[in-house]
């Protein structure tokens, strides 16, 4: 049946439209299965419309088939009744004529004439022109010949039919047959048979063939209309589902977009609420949630602001008296020669500890600024290699005091990169200070190198080193590798925390490698374009094997001690 194909068409055509709309371009047909799978997974509307279409198509298919069968049956039955009545009428008219005719017995000519007139009546009375008659009793010699008119083919009459007609005089018999059509094919028809009695001669089988062509045409038209209406209905329901769902999915995707924007930090966005239905409830509860989030974030922001202001106030309030103390301590310290030894020492201690207090305060404030997120970088194109050179030069004196040789190896990193030079200088000073302090008088190698994405600086000492557990905590606040070790360089225990904070502010990283007995290696890596670090650092954190070899090969580089000497253009 063609109906199966017809009902499958609608979903297919809808798919096609969905595809071409969502993934414009027929050329990408290879991707359709994937696209469709994705659409099925992601689009609620697509999925529901597809399911609706499938179910509707099945229902419409069943309804259409049933209706077609019922109509077909009904049409046939009514046509059959009509045909039977028609045949009966014609036969009885013919029989009446035969019964009233006065024919002399044995006059074959008269009989033939009578037969011809009966034939004319039959043709006139019945609505078909395909009529056949055949003698049942062939013993009477004067009986008229069998006849067929209207191209009646006797082969149409089945044996069973003939037997049935011959068996009794009264009832009509019918049979469905395929009649030859004008175009050479066949068409459905009904064959009606009964007996006609010729006086004196005997009974004839009389057959009428009726074609059902017009009924078949009607049936075909009705079926065609049914299918068209069915397909139309399926499409219509699909369309309705699409539009109805839009009224549901649009607010949902609106809600999704709004929550995305909310998540992205636009705290003031809200969903427009219309009416009082479930979607409005969704919108209202979403808005309530957004209100709550907004107020909480505002509260936190205010808290943070309060903290920043507090830090700033503490800074001012502490620093002013500290300045007075500092000035006084310095003055007293300058005159300690005039005091007795104990007082002189006290003055010295006072001075030193005031300085330590000051450093600690500065570091603490710096840390609290990171915590408050109120640090702003002052970016300036700076050459990391030159910066390292400057820092090494400025720490020359300290290195000498510790009898330590500081070497700079800078294969790269000369091109200026945007960074906050004050902060980077502070990091390098801190790393170098630590290396000098823990370097056990062995040489310290400062490496500067770069690749396409990043510049990096490594500070390698060959001192005591730390075990892995200690190295993990090295950036923790107030953490000290060995509390018993005397500190010669006044540190606050915050230096590396601050250095790490500074590195991260630049989008960079500060990493450490350390091994007891082999020293430590700190590597600072900064991205070139102010973005995030994507590639590994240009400097290897772990030392290559035969490190000592490499370091003997390293040529000492002369460090200019005068930092203010203008450098040549690089």
């Amino acid at each position: 049946m063609t109906s199966t194909g017809a009902t499958e068409t609608p979903p297919r055509s809808v798919n096609g439209r969905a595809k071409s709309r969502a993934f414009g371009g027929w050329r990408e047909w290879r991707g359709w299965p994937d696209d469709l799978t994705r659409l099925w997974r992601r689009s609620l509307r697509f999925r529901i419309v597809l399911v609706t279409l499938g179910l509707t198509a099945a229902a419409v298919l069943v309804a259409c088939v049933w209706m077609a069968l019922v109509i077909q049956n009904d049409l046939f039955v009514s046509r059959k009744e009509q045909v039977l009545g028609d045949a009966r009428r014609a036969t009885s008219a013919a029989q009446e004529t035969l019964d009233n005719a006065a024919v002399q017995t044995g006059d074959s000519v008269q009989l033939q004439t009578l037969m011809n007139s009966v034939l004319a009546i039959l043709v006139q009375q019945s609505s078909t022109d395909m009529i056949a008659a055949a003698r049942i009793d062939r013993t009477a010699p004067q009986a008229p010949q069998d006849f067929t008119i209207g191209g009646f083919d006797k082969a149409l009459i089945s044996d069973g039919m003939r037997v049935a007609v011959r068996s009794s005089a009264e009832p009509q018999w019918w049979q469905s047959v395929a009649l030859p059509a004008e175009d050479g094919g066949t068409m459905p028809g009904i064959l009606v048979g009964q007996q006609l009695v010729l006086p004196d001669v005997g009974a004839y089988e009389l057959y009428f063939a009726y074609d059902l062509g017009s009924a078949a045409g009607t049936l075909g038209f009705i079926q065609f209309t049914l299918w068209v209406v069915g397909i139309g209905l399926v499409l219509l329901i699909g369309g309705i589902a699409w539009f109805v769902l839009r009224s549901v999915t649009t607010p949902i995707s609106e809600a999704a977009q709004t929550s995305e924007r909310l998540a992205a930090g636009q705290l003031t966005v809200r969903i427009p609420v219309r009416g009082e239905d479930e979607l409005a409830t969704l919108g209202r509860s979403f808005n309530a949630m957004a209100d709550s989030i907004e107020s909480q974030i505002k509260e936190l922001a205010e808290l943070s602001l309060v903290q920043q202001r507090f830090v700033s106030d503490v800074s001012h309030e502490l620093r002013t008296p500290l300045t007075t103390i500092r000035l006084a301590a310095d003055m007293i310290n300058d005159q300690r020669d005039e005091f007795d030894p104990a007082t002189a020492r006290a003055a010295e201690l006072l001075n030193a500890q005031v300085q330590r207090f000051e450093t600690l305060l500065t570091d603490l404030l710096e840390i609290s600024r990171y915590d408050a997120g109120s640090v702003q970088l002052e970016l300036e194109p700076t050459s990391l290699a030159h910066l390292a050179e400057d820092v090494i030069a400025s720490m020359h004196q300290l290195a000498e005091q510790h009898d330590t040789d500081v070497r700079l190896v800078a294969p790269g990193g000369y091109t200026p990169v945007d960074m906050d030079p004050r902060r980077i200088r502070r990091i390098v000073r801190n790393l170098l200070g630590n290396a000098i302090e823990h370097g056990e008088r062995r040489p310290i190698v400062v490496t500067v190198d770069s690749n396409q994405q990043a510049v990096a600086l490594g500070v390698r000492d060959f001192g005591l080193g730390m075990n892995a557990g200690d190295a993990e905590h090295v950036f923790d606040r107030f953490w000290r590798a060995d509390p018993s070790r005397t500190r010669t360089i006044g540190g606050t225990g915050l230096g590396l925390s601050i250095a790490l904070g500074d590195a991260r502010l630049h989008g960079g990283e500060l990493t450490v490698w350390s091994e007891p007995g082999h020293g430590s290696h700190f590597v600072l890596t900064l991205p070139r374009s102010g973005g995030r670090l994507t590639s590994p650092s240009p400097i290897r954190l772990e030392p290559v094997e035969e490190q000592s070899d490499e370091f003997t090969r390293t040529q000492p580089i002369e460090i200019r001690t005068d930092a203010a000497t203008p450098r040549g253009a690089s």
């Binding site: 007075t324 500092r326 004050r422």
Partner: protein, 226 residues
Amino acid sequence: MTSRILVVDDDTALAEMIGIVLRTEGFETAFCADGAKAVDAWRTERPDLVLLDLMLPGIDGIEVCTRIRQESGIPIIMLTARTDTADVVKGLESGADDYIVKPFNPKELVARIRTRLRPATQSASDSLRIGDLTVDVAAHEVRRGEDPIALTPLEFELLVALASKPQQVFSREMLLEQVWGYHYKADTRLVNVHVQRLRAKVELDPDNPKIVTTVRGVGYRAGAVV
């Protein structure tokens, strides 16, 4: 001749201590603890230099600085407890010549003050040309044609430093050493802000400087003589 220094600070202990330090170094001192009275105090005391705390009751230090700057180019050194970038830059933009972050030591304070009070740089020639300007070093005067341009001593010194070596490109560090007297790495924003202030006064179009030109990545140099 002893220089007279006005200390504007609301913390009396600190003001007194600064006074002790300065008098030990041979300066004369005057005090004012209220921002609102600071400008009047400056007018009556006629000091040679003002030490100005940034946070003051009444009117804050930045406002005081701006008001004094409207009337005079007197050296102003800000005392600030805040190292926050914005505050320092705001202070410098309002016209302060230099700043010292609390807590400071007495030597640092005295060094900063002496640098600002030292006699103007002696140049080889009395008159210098820079761009379309004439700089009369002896008379401390800058003219465009016949019109004099009023500069603070610091701005004048900055201009003279550049004009006296027209071929030289000055890095910010060199200028910090020569004009501000810093012998170590200091805040290069000092230079940036004061170059901006100087340009605003001497350039015809500060967005397209012809007198003090920027050498990208290095520093500044004097514009070609016209």
